[in-house]
Symmetry: C2
Subunit: 371 residues, 2 copies
DNA sequence: AGCGGTCAGGTAAGCGCTTTCCTACAAGCC
DNA sequence: GGCTTGTAGGAAAGCGCTTACCTGACCGCT
C-alpha cells in the first residue's frame, strides 16, 4: 500500500469504507490489458526489479536516469500496482478487520470514527463488516477477515446470550490468534482477550437512580432483544439501582423489541396499552427512545409533563429531537480508539480490559413524576 | 470469494464495510504459520490441485474418499484460503468500488443501502471510500480502487465546480475504462458515461413553488458549499420557480456554509442577524435544516408560526425532529440500486442517463407566511 | 598488475492459489 | 490380447509483485 497513494500525511483523517457482500462472487474475467509492472519495466528498458524499486521508493539506490525513465513509463501507462499481488508478495498483513452490527447505526458510526482515527494514524487499512445482529454472519465474517489476512479483528457491539455460539466464536478467534492474529472486543463478554467495556451496568444504575430521584414509581422499560448482553447488562444495572431505593421492576413492565426506532415505538405502545398509568419510559438505547417519543407525540401524551422519556448512548441525534433526550452517555469514539490501540499493540501477555464510565446527560425529555 | 463464505443465499442482505485508511501501511510481518493449501494437501495426502478442487467445489470430479480426506484436513487445520492469492490466481475482478463523501451521512447511507442491495444480489464485494468532500482524495481513491482490481467504480454525491479537477478525474476514469473497468456516477456531471441523476433542479423548483404558494416573500436560503454542483443545481431550480412568480432571490439572502447541522445553524444565524424579517428558511439539505431548527429553538422563534423551515433530501431523521421537517424527497435508495445496476450491466454502448424525480413532503415545519 | 570492496542493476525464487494439460489406470470393444 | 475411450488425479505454469542473491563494472589500494 505505498507509492500511488501519495502524500498521505496531508490527509491525516482520510478513510475508506469497503462494503463487502459475502455472496460468492463469481465474477467474470472482465477487462484484460491492464498494465503490469513488467510492462512498465519493458517500456523503461529496465528489469522489473528496478521498476519495483523505483515505484516503492525502496532503500536500494537507483540512478537518477533510470528512475526518471521508470516514472515516465508509469505515467504514460497510467500504471497502478495490483494491490493483491503486492500483498501476496509481501506476505504481510496490513489491514485490520472490524465486525459491527451496522455501521449506519449512529452508535457504531461513532465507535468506527474512533477506530478509524487510530488506524489511520498507524497507516492501517480498516475493513468493516456489518453483521446486522446475526451471530452466524459474525462467524462467517471472522473467516472472511482471516482470508483477507488482516492483522487484527475487532468485534464491536453487544454479544449474545448463546453458549453454543460463544464457544464456536471463541474457537475461531483462538485459532486466528494462534496464527499470530490479534483480537480485541468492544462491549462483549465472549472473548477472554483484550477488551474495552463500556459500563453498561453502571449506566443502568445511573438511570435507575435518576428515576428514583425524580420520584418515578411507575416505570416502563423499552428494551432491546433479550439475547443481547447489552440489553441485560443495562437492565441489571437499572434494577439494582431501583432495588437500592426499595423499588422493583416487574418483568411485565419490560418490553423487548428490536433495538431501533420502530422497536421503540412498538414496545412503548404495548407498555402504555397495558398500563396507562406509567410516568416514565426508560429506553435502553436512543433509537428506541426516539421511537418512544414519536409514539407519545402521536398519542398526544405530553413529555415530560405526563411521561418522562430516557434514552441510552447519547447519539448525536439525541439533542435534536423535541423534547431533547435525557440519556446516558457512553464515550463511543473513545471506545473505538482504545480498542484499536489495544489491537495494534502486541504489548502485554495477559488480557487487558479497559472499562469506560457512563455519564447521565439531563435534557428536556425527563422531569419529576406527576402526582 | 467462494468456499468458506458458506450459504450466502441464506443471508440475502449481508454486507460488509471496509474502511481503508490510505496512509502507507508499513505493516510488520506479523504471524507466520498460517495454514496454506499445500499444508492441507499434504495432510490429506493429495496434490494441491485436488485440494483446491474439493475446496472450491470445482466441476472436476473427485472421489468421495479423497474429498473427505481433504475436508477433514481443512477442518483440522482451520484452513481459510488466502483471498489475495485467490484473486491473483483467478485474475478476475470481483469487487465494485464506491466513492462517496461520507457514509455516515444519512444521505449516503441511504444510497449505499441501494448499492449494496444490488451488489449483494449479484454476489459482488463492495468497497466504499469516504472522500470527506476532498476532491484530491477522490482522485487518490480512484487509483486505490484501480489497484484493488475492482470491476466498476461508482462515484456518488455532488461534483465540484472546478475545471482542473474535472479534467483530471475524467482522465483517470477514462484510463480505467480503457482497461475494461466500468464507471457510473450518481448526481454528478463530471463523467460523460452512465449516470443516475436526482432531479436537484426540479426539487429546487418544487421548493420555490411551495414557498410562493404559502405566500412567503422574505426568504433566506441556507446553502452548502458553492463549489458543489448539488448546491448550485438546487439553488438554480429554486430561483427559477421564484422567478416564475415574479420574485427574486438576492444573493445576500443566500448563505453558504458546510453541508451539515452546524453549517445550517451558522448560516441561519447569519441570515436572521442580517434580516430579522425573514419568514422562511430554505435549507438545501436536511442536516442544515435541522441545524436551522435548533438555532430557531434556541432563539425561541416559533416554527412555523414566525418562520417556516424547509429541508431537502428527506433523510429518515426528518420526521423525528420537532416540528417535523417539510422537505424535498429524493429516492436515495433507488438511486443507489439503479447506479449499481448500470455499473454491473455492460449493456449499451452509449452513455445511459437516468433521471429520478424529486417530491415535496409536507410536514409541520412549514406554514403560510405570517402577515 | 592483482586484489578486495562498492554499488547499480539484473536474475530468479518465491508469495498461495487456480487451472491447463498430461499421465496412468480401468473399463469396454472387437 | 490389442485397441480406443473415459476418467481421476498430479505436475507445472502462471497470476503480478517483492527481494535475496548474484553479476559485472569501477574504484582505490598494495
Amino acid at each position: 500500500m505505498t507509492c500511488v497513494y501519495r502524500a498521505p500525511e496531508k490527509h491525516p483523517h482520510c478513510g475508506t469504507v469497503w462494503l463487502v457482500a459475502t455472496a460468492a462472487a463469481d465474477a467474470t474475467r472482465e477487462g484484460a490489458g491492464v498494465a503490469t509492472l513488467s510492462d512498465v519495466a519493458r517500456r523503461a528498458g529496465v528489469s522489473p526489479a528496478t521498476a519495483s524499486r523505483v515505484i516503492n521508493g525502496s532503500s536500494k539506490p537507483v540512478t537518477e536516469e533510470l528512475r526518471e525513465r521508470v516514472l515516465r513509463a508509469v505515467a504514460e501507462l497510467q500504471y497502478v500496482p495490483n494491490a493483491h499481488a503486492q500483498l501476496l508478495a509481501r506476505s504481510h498483513r496490513g489491514a485490520v478487520g472490524v465486525i459491527v452490527h451496522d455501521v449506519s447505526d449512529p452508535y457504531f458510526a461513532e465507535i468506527t470514527r474512533g477506530l478509524q482515527r487510530v488506524a489511520t494514524d498507524q497507516g492501517r487499512l480498516l475493513m468493516i463488516c456489518n453483521s446486522y445482529r446475526d451471530p452466524e454472519r459474525e462467524l462467517e465474517y471472522v473467516e472472511l477477515l482471516r482470508g483477507q489476512q488482516v492483522a487484527a479483528i475487532i468485534l464491536a457491539g453487544s454479544g449474545y446470550h448463546d453458549a453454543d455460539f460463544t464457544r464456536l466464536l471463541n474457537g475461531k478467534l483462538t485459532a486466528y490468534e494462534a496464527t499470530g492474529g490479534r483480537v480485541a472486543v468492544i462491549g462483549r463478554h465472549e472473548h477472554s482477550g483484550d477488551a474495552v467495556m463500556p459500563d453498561n451496568r453502571g449506566g443502568g444504575e445511573l438511570l435507575g437512580r435518576e428515576l428514583c430521584r425524580l420520584g418515578h414509581e411507575h416505570i416502563g422499560v423499552v428494551a432491546g432483544p433479550r439475547v443481547l448482553t447489552t440489553t441485560t447488562d443495562r437492565l441489571t444495572g437499572l434494577r439494582a439501582a431501583l432495588a437500592e431505593h426499595g423499588r422493583e421492576l416487574p418483568e411485565h413492565r419490560v418490553r423487548y423489541a428490536n433495538f431501533d426506532r420502530d422497536g421503540g415505538a412498538e414496545a412503548t405502545a404495548a407498555l402504555l396499552d397495558a398500563e396507562p398509568g406509567l410516568t416514565a419510559i426508560a429506553a435502553l438505547n436512543d433509537s428506541m427512545a426516539i421511537g418512544a417519543l414519536a409514539l407519545l407525540r402521536d398519542r398526544a401524551v405530553p413529555v415530560p409533563q405526563r411521561v418522562s422519556v430516557f434514552g441510552f448512548d447519547d447519539m448525536p441525534m439525541a439533542r435534536d429531537v423535541t423534547p431533547a433526550l435525557t440519556t446516558v452517555r457512553l464515550p463511543l469514539v473513545e471506545m473505538g480508539s482504545r480498542a484499536m490501540a489495544l489491537a495494534l499493540d502486541p504489548g502485554a501477555a495477559g488480557p487487558r480490559v479497559e472499562s469506560l464510565p457512563a455519564e447521565l446527560i439531563f435534557r428536556d425529555s425527563a422531569g419529576p413524576a406527576p402526582r
